[in-house]
Symmetry: D2
Subunit: 374 residues, 4 copies
């Protein structure tokens, strides 16, 4: 029986390192699936995992929470949400969140399933001792009940993985924003979440979409997807002034924070019009505090601020279908700056940490043909 290679984050004496480890092929319990991994991604969360900045992570872990692969084996008759049977050879992805309990107060009364304390996340909250439960591995074990989605016609594995976790996360943020036809939308930050938020804002019929990033060259991908404006002024005051200039001095109807910088929050509040909506989706880890003025920035502005945590099945389902429908227009695959073999995940992590790439992708079972990215 052949062994399976995976990149593992291991913690030794407080130091976290990447190691390539070998695992035996798992025995499939009823209702489970074994995927041959085509692609996994490296996202900001993976950098936080490497730096030990997330609480409660059961190192060693196999990272890689959003993935695409080919069904190699399945035990039993399994069906997707539409009732279609899965078969060996299908190219699929799956919701990284698993074990949402549907029995707790948050699930049943608040109907806030992304705050269910029982939920587990592939590539984040499972230990490597529990199995091949992350995508930086040649194979991924899908436990019974994991929610699998076949890529729809028109959506290539490359387009899908380029969207990565940014796409469903951004979809959730855009849903929370409640963008209406003709709204002027500002996106703070041009990383994967920001770019996908810009795409979904365009698809929502925004009257104008502006992406703000102080690094001029990071805005190239935003221009490629067709946003109306890019704003790269060096100072917060100048960026706020530019958004006000574009909106007849009112500010944006909707602003979406996707930069991860706490200081962006006080800046974004001032970019948003009175009675507008400010969505915070970029603050997935604790990057520090920010000082705001409740009178000027919230009360007097009659503002709505909405945090966005996690995704549920609906977000990845809709994201995958929208990507399939609009892949020619937005060509997600071009956001892939580089595809790395399993042995080079450290370089990939470094590139993401230094913001050198739009999207870094891992191909655990072999590199595809070269593609031209941004």
């Amino acid at each position: 029986m052949e062994t399976i290679k995976a990149a593992v984050l291991e913690k030794t004496n407080g130091t976290i390192d990447v190691k390539i480890r070998e695992f035996p092929e798992p025995v499939l319990e009823p209702g489970s699936v074994l995927l041959k991994t085509l692609y996994s991604e490296v996202c900001g969360t993976d950098v936080h995992l490497l730096l030990g900045q997330l609480a409660g992570v059961p190192y060693p872990i196999i990272p890689g929470h959003i993935n695409v692969g080919i069904i190699e084996k399945l035990n039993g008759a399994l069906f997707d949400i539409e009732g279609n049977a899965f078969r060996v050879g299908d190219v699929v992805t799956f919701l990284d969140v698993h074990e949402t309990c549907h029995t707790c107060w948050h699930c049943l009364v608040a109907k806030a399933s992304t705050r269910c304390p029982q939920r587990k996340v592939y590539g984040v909250t499972y230990s490597a001792h529990e199995g091949l439960l992350g995508g930086w591995s040649q194979k991924i074990y899908l436990k019974p009940g994991v929610k699998i989605i076949k890529l729809p016609p028109g959506l290539s594995p490359e387009d899908f993985i380029a969207g990565g976790c940014g796409a469903p996360t951004a979809l959730h943020a855009v849903e929370r924003a409640g963008i209406k036809l003709n709204d002027f939308v500002v996106i703070q930050g041009s990383g994967p979440v920001g770019l996908n938020a810009a795409i979904f804002a365009l698809l929502s019929g925004a009257g104008g979409v502006a992406v703000v990033d102080p690094a001029p060259k990071r805005l190239e991908a935003s221009r490629a997807i067709g946003v109306d404006y890019t704003v790269d002024a060096a100072s917060p005051g100048d960026r706020i002034a530019e958004i006000r200039r574009l909106t007849n001095q009112r500010g944006a109807d909707v602003t979406i924070e996707a930069s991860g910088n706490p200081l962006s929050v006080v800046e974004g509040l001032q970019m948003t019009r009175d009675n507008g909506i400010y969505v915070i989706v970029g603050q997935y880890t604790d990057a520090g505090d920010v000082t705001i003025n409740p009178h000027l920035h919230i009360n007097k502005k009659h503002l709505d601020i909405r945090g966005v945590w996690g995704i549920d099945y609906s977000h990845i389902y809709k994201s995958v279908h929208l990507m399939a429908k609009h892949s020619n227009r937005f060509q997600w695959r071009k956001m892939i700056s580089k595809t790395y073999p399993l042995e080079e995940v450290e370089a990939a992590l470094e590139a993401v940490k230094l913001l050198q790439v739009v999207k870094a992708v891992i191909a655990p079972t072999g590199l595809p043909e070269p593609m031209n990215g941004y």
Copy 2:
């Protein structure tokens, strides 16, 4: 022709003082009304006016934005919103906000009329040179188009003025909060806005209402109106812990900030459950900044934060009708700590500034019989 006395805030060499001035009786243009003032109120805004903390105030001004009086004269046939004619002798109040334009972007596109830049406010944005446009005066001139409401049966002038501007402001906050049946609601601050917010939360079918105020004796009025819990722990951490204890460690479904203290914001965010709603209505003047953590307090909590600015006609209309219906249950008049004659407005302002009173009321045309307040 008799003269009319009013208390005026005058600014001389940068100093703002209260003076009693006399004014001639105004000539009524068509569509206008002259009220004999029964009561005006002293609210926190009036203290800010005295201290010069609001921008753009056209001193000298006659303060007093929420008022109740008797129609003494009216020029022309005037009708309320239900089509009933106003007559001399009617006891009425009116919306302090006037001249909302219905032609600007905020009025017409955003439908955010409380952010209309044309709006004027009796007792705040009109100069005394423009007429008797504030309630600290024996008579009030209601310009054509001012929206007048006759007090409904069951609502005494004393109950109405005890609610004061706090009642419609709190109603607006509670509407923004979207309280649902059985929600657990926390109110931060037990001043006039906080007390009325507690009342409207009770009327909304909250499962529990807790009022938080670090001053134990200020919570007496909250207990009198029948809130479920009062929390007076001295430290923020203890207050947060107490709210968590009352909510099975989840935090409140809805928290309403009505204290005016910027530090309350970071405390209130932590009192609110994941995916809960945090309404900021107490920060009507710039009382300074606060430091928050966007990750811990908003993003990870999947929180909604909603600022509330101003009131429109619907808020005072609904507030007046709800007060009439429930005046026996809540007995607003008992919130009046003291009623002052016009000559003692300085003492009233001082009492409000020092938080010595729940509600201070001005009676410009004579004191009523003594009442027993809290």
Copy 3:
């Protein structure tokens, strides 16, 4: 081993009859519970079951979908939603809906779990061959995963069963209605759903609640719970005119149809104001068609119409807690017209069919002391 008596609806040659049958005591699988039944109810659905008017019912069945009982046995450690352990002797109810799948399109994408095709309902969709899965039985078997709620302090079994399925159903309808403070609310029909809808409308801070029923004496219970108006005019036109008279000719802000008569729909549409909300919760079985005018009744009125199907856990959870908090005010137990022993369920069904009772209750393990109902 003692046997357990239950009333069973059996279908023989197309005829459905009530029979008292004996069952062996079940063996408890892990995670299951055995209740000693205190009360079950007879609701309109049970009449439809007797008359064979529901499709797909697997006769023979043990009816009784909303129930209250005492935990007699439980297999394993079981906890409620707040993490409290259940113990023998606890007085509990449970959500009749079971096996909602959390894996289908309706559960995961539409988030419309009451339309999940996998859901089963105690007392309706389980056959008596499958076990003691209905409340007209001395004992009820709660399968693993059934969502159990301990009656909170202040809520007696009698109050709870008097609310019956009407309470959570009405709560769902009132949530759908989105009643706001001071809304004028009309309830069509004064049966169990209508009465509970009136109660929850009062608790929501409605400015006025009117219950409409053409049978004058059926409105007695509405008056007892304190609704503002009862309307018993004999003709639809007169009832519409009366509602318009009460609302300054505008119609109600919110109307809730809880009569079960299709003709009520065209009447209720006309009782509702322009841009108002019309909720249809009473049409749980196909009682026929109704003719409406899309222009006059919907398009020109800019109306919202909202159907309400089923309940989920949140509705019974909130309903139980609200009943506990307000049981002194509304005294649900007085709605019980008569309590029947198991042997008299036919008489109970007949009384419900003929609208002779407000609420008919079954006490399978012995009648309690007499109570004074309406």
Copy 4:
């Protein structure tokens, strides 16, 4: 002083006829504007006006409620909502609705301004005796306060008038529908409202848009604007089956009724999924009744039905800006089947009545160059 020609609907002995009448040029009161008319439109409402099917119309009238023209004169300094001055020579349109009162219960409490009883509509509720207050005239008099919008860059008069009243009406319907990203949307009817609803559904990020019309050739324009599916089956059952086939047997997330046929309502309810949304915007005149089943079509489906009446300023403002942004993609001007001179309005009315045209346009001051329409 030259005279101005207009087409007038006159009522003589109960018969309504079109006459060409001459009017003197009006004297401009302060704040008013005189437009030279470029285009007016003929919409379904105009056919109803000719047939006398609307109540309370003050014949004789000059029809034409949505219009575009050139400012020929203006009395005073006039500004648009953004603060830009209007000048002679500007190409503008205006909101046909005027005199919304902002003082009635519907305006102030319900905030349902389209149901304000004071509102007047150019081309519908003004008599020709009151002036040039309709667009089938060489000049149009814009009373003080009429809300004027300059056509934004990119929007030609031909594109604008091709959208006509259908565009803002459809925008309102789509706003009411609350279309979310990836929703499957069905439009019933392929007339001007239906086509524009399809466009705004596409712009809202619908996952699929299907237009249903039993006349195959009427669907050509729908295909030209790029809808995903057209359905022309001859029977209601077949059309319902086709929508179900396209949606995995669930039905549409959102269905918009824009056909004007009452029977479409019962068909559309069945095309919509459980817990879906059904918007009725096509029933602007009383075309008769329809029979529905409240249980099957509303209650059991947990459906939302939303009527849509009229437009306010926000709808035409957003519609104009969206048309300007997307005029290359949707090429509204191609919907103009024929442009008629003033003398041929009867032929235009006949063509609209017989559904022979997608869009009939009136050019009162001279025909433009021929254009190729659908």
